[in-house]
């Protein structure tokens, strides 16, 4: 059975779903359902984490989904760490999707503050899933200090532009010793399939579902895209052919 394993915990689905930007909780729930996801991420700034009756939290069945709080909105390590601690104090599992995005326009992650926050949170026993730019060395530094995954972006968050960082993500995947989850920028199921074909372990999608005409239908489409990409990766893709070379200038000496 092909399972996604993060920090020793097994998941059937390789599609993670975000909960922001949906027109209604009903649309969000329908999308979650159709996506087949096991993990949903929630921005701590959007919910009243101490209140079980919170409008959004109350809708998420925690028996069924792992609720992954994220620190979206945090501008530095200190803010992100504080948010993560609050979530744990409120009874959430000690898992956190670490986002430190001081730039309010492209919401690009700050590598220095993300690294600092990850160091602190790992030490405090959190399972840390850091959102990062597609920087292979940062990915290595993070996995070295014990993050459970790395989550490189495909394109700036919310842009739906696909795998603009493809070359860098390929290097991250090639060198990773933890699961690589492509996060942000994936706008179409084909983008998700492309990431999975390359060997990504999972993808996270939010905006593409939330702003679709029919979020549930788009979620189902992403589910298929992720599954198709994963299957293709496991099956071993036939790549484009390069030109054949007939003569033997390099190995002719073996017949001398």
């Amino acid at each position: 059975m092909d399972e996604l394993i993060i920090a020793g915990r097994k998941f059937r689905s390789r599609l993670l779903v975000g909960t922001g930007k949906f027109a209604s909780n009903a649309a969000m729930l329908a999308a979650m359902e159709a996506s087949g996801c096991d993990i949903v991420t929630v921005a701590l700034r959007r919910v009243d984490i101490d209140n079980p009756g919170d409008d959004l939290l109350a809708h998420i069945d925690r028996q069924r989904y792992l609720l992954l709080p994220n620190t979206s909105g945090a501008r530095d390590a200190e803010e992100a760490v504080r948010l993560a601690r609050l979530a744990r104090a409120a009874g959430c599992e000690p898992w956190v999707k670490l986002e430190v995005t001081p730039d309010p326009y492209y919401l690009l992650p700050d590598p220095v503050e993300t690294f600092k926050a990850a160091q602190i949170l790992v030490k405090e026993g959190f399972t840390v899933l850091p959102y990062i730019n597609a920087d292979p060395v940062l990915a290595k530094r993070l996995q070295e200090i014990g993050t459970a995954t790395v989550m490189p972006l495909g394109a700036p968050i919310g842009t739906n532009r696909g795998l603009k960082t493809r070359e860098q993500i390929a290097i991250i995947i090639e060198q990773a010793i933890v699961p690589v989850i492509v996060d942000a920028g994936l706008g179409a199921p084909s983008h998700a399939a492309e990431a999975m074909e390359m060997g990504a372990d999972a993808v996270l999608v939010n905006t593409a579902l939330a702003v679709a005409g029919d979020p549930a239908r788009m979620a189902a489409a992403f589910r298929k895209g992720v599954e198709a990409g994963r299957e293709a990766y496991l099956a071993g893709l036939g790549e484009e052919r390069r030109q054949a070379e007939a003569s033997s200038p390099l190995t002719g000496f073996l017949r001398d």
Binding site: K140, A170, E174, Q175, A176, I177, G236, L237, G238, E239, E240, R241, R242, A244, E245, S247, S248, L250, T251, F253, L254
Partner: protein
């Protein structure tokens, strides 16, 4: 997860069967892939890949050119001692062999080093057997400190150490570690190493990781070709290389392909590797590991070494002597094995130039490791 955990998930016989079952389609897919996986390495090492030797060589050549340019780094070994407490069946230093035993003094080591320095070498590899009474970490560190002024890079090919031992080496000025697993087949390993500390397969297997953790900047691995099936051995070398390069990503990895040579004790290879299969193995590993150093020693013939240069080789020894004290006054009886390419360093470097490559004598600087500077 260490490499032992990973190795345990593979069965040697099963791996060999999977390699042998690979088809031409698998080989073509592996050749065309942008980034290759262990499955692709299996295909490239398979009998089916034998028909693709030239396209493999072409790609290996292109990849090497792209990553390393037209450069061949030259180095030479210095044998410090042939005393050994191990019983490796294939090795001239085998404790059971009745040969004269010798451990060089610091003065003698420096005299050997001076000869190599005069030839132009700035990268050296210090080699010993495993005999702590004759040569321990402290003596080795002292030798390294003594040689530091002469060389820009000092590597060791000695017995496996604790992580602390490797730290001591780094502090003394060692930047590289070479350690061959010999065979990745546990059963065969036990057979080949009937006594001595080297019997401990796991201890040896994890030594490169201990070296990496201690901060060694270059790590070299390999299997002794002629023991197990080359296909399975090369596959595990590739897997080991991938593991090390992911976990110790600050260290540069190199792979060697020592083929068994005639040695004292008269060991005959169990699975001899022919020249075409040797070329296949080198190309397959280059295709899996575009950035790895590929090392070729003077075990191989001058003819073969000339032709292997464009196929992906990045480092070569030259003018090597495998006996302690051999550069200052050779004694064939104490050598580890017979070399084949006996050209002088100058001849080898001239040959490299005639092939359109640059012979590189220095590719490292002591200043990198000098924390006091």
């Amino acid at each position: 997860m260490n490499f032992l955990d990973q190795l345990t998930t593979y069965d040697y016989t099963d791996v060999l069967a999977r390699i042998e079952a690979k088809s031409a389609t698998d080989v073509e897919r592996a050749l065309a892939a942008e980034r290759r996986r262990p499955e692709d390495l299996m295909a490239l090492l398979s009998p089916a890949a034998e028909a693709y030797l030239e396209p493999m060589a072409q790609q290996a050549h292109r990849l090497t050119l792209q990553r390393f340019g037209r450069n061949i780094l030259l180095y030479a070994p210095i044998y410090l001692s042939n005393e050994c407490t191990n019983g490796c069946r294939y090795c001239g230093f085998n404790a059971g062999n009745r040969v004269p035993r010798r451990t060089l003094t610091l003065e003698e080591i420096e005299a050997e080093a001076q000869v190599l320095h005069r030839h132009g070498f700035r990268h050296v590899l210090l080699v010993t057997g495993e005999a702590p009474r004759a040569l321990d970490n402290d003596l080795l560190a002292a030798a390294v400190r003594r040689l530091r002024p002469l060389f820009s890079s000092i590597s060791i090919e000695v017995y496996p150490m604790e992580e602390d031992g490797y730290r001591q080496m780094v502090a003394a000025g060692v930047d590289g570690l070479t350690l061959y697993q010999e065979t990745y087949d546990r059963r065969l390993y036990a057979e080949m190493h009937p006594f001595g500390k080297k019997r401990d397969f796991d201890w040896r297997l994890l030594a490169p990781e201990r070296g990496g953790a201690a901060g060694l900047r270059r790590i070299g691995i390999g299997a002794l070709l002629g023991l197990g099936s080359f296909r399975a051995e090369a596959f595990f070398v590739g897997l080991h290389a991938l593991h090390l390069s992911r976990h110790f990503w600050r260290s540069h990895l190199s792979v060697s392909f020592p083929r068994i040579r005639p040695a004292e004790g008269g060991f005959a290879p169990l699975h001899p590797v022919s020249d075409p299969r040797f070329v296949q193995l080198i190309c397959a590993l280059r295709l899996l590991l575009p950035d790895a150093g590929l090392v070729l020693s003077t075990r191989e013939s001058a003819h073969l070494r000339n032709h292997l240069i464009p196929l992906g080789i990045t480092q070569m020894s030259a003018g090597s002597c495998t006996a302690p004290g051999g550069y200052t006054g050779g004694d064939d009886e104490t050598r580890q094995f017979a070399i084949d390419d006996d050209r002088t360093p100058a001849q080898v470097s001239e040959l490299i130039r005639s092939l359109g490559y640059e012979a590189v004598w220095k590719d490292w600087d002591r200043a990198f490791l000098d924390k006091t500077g």
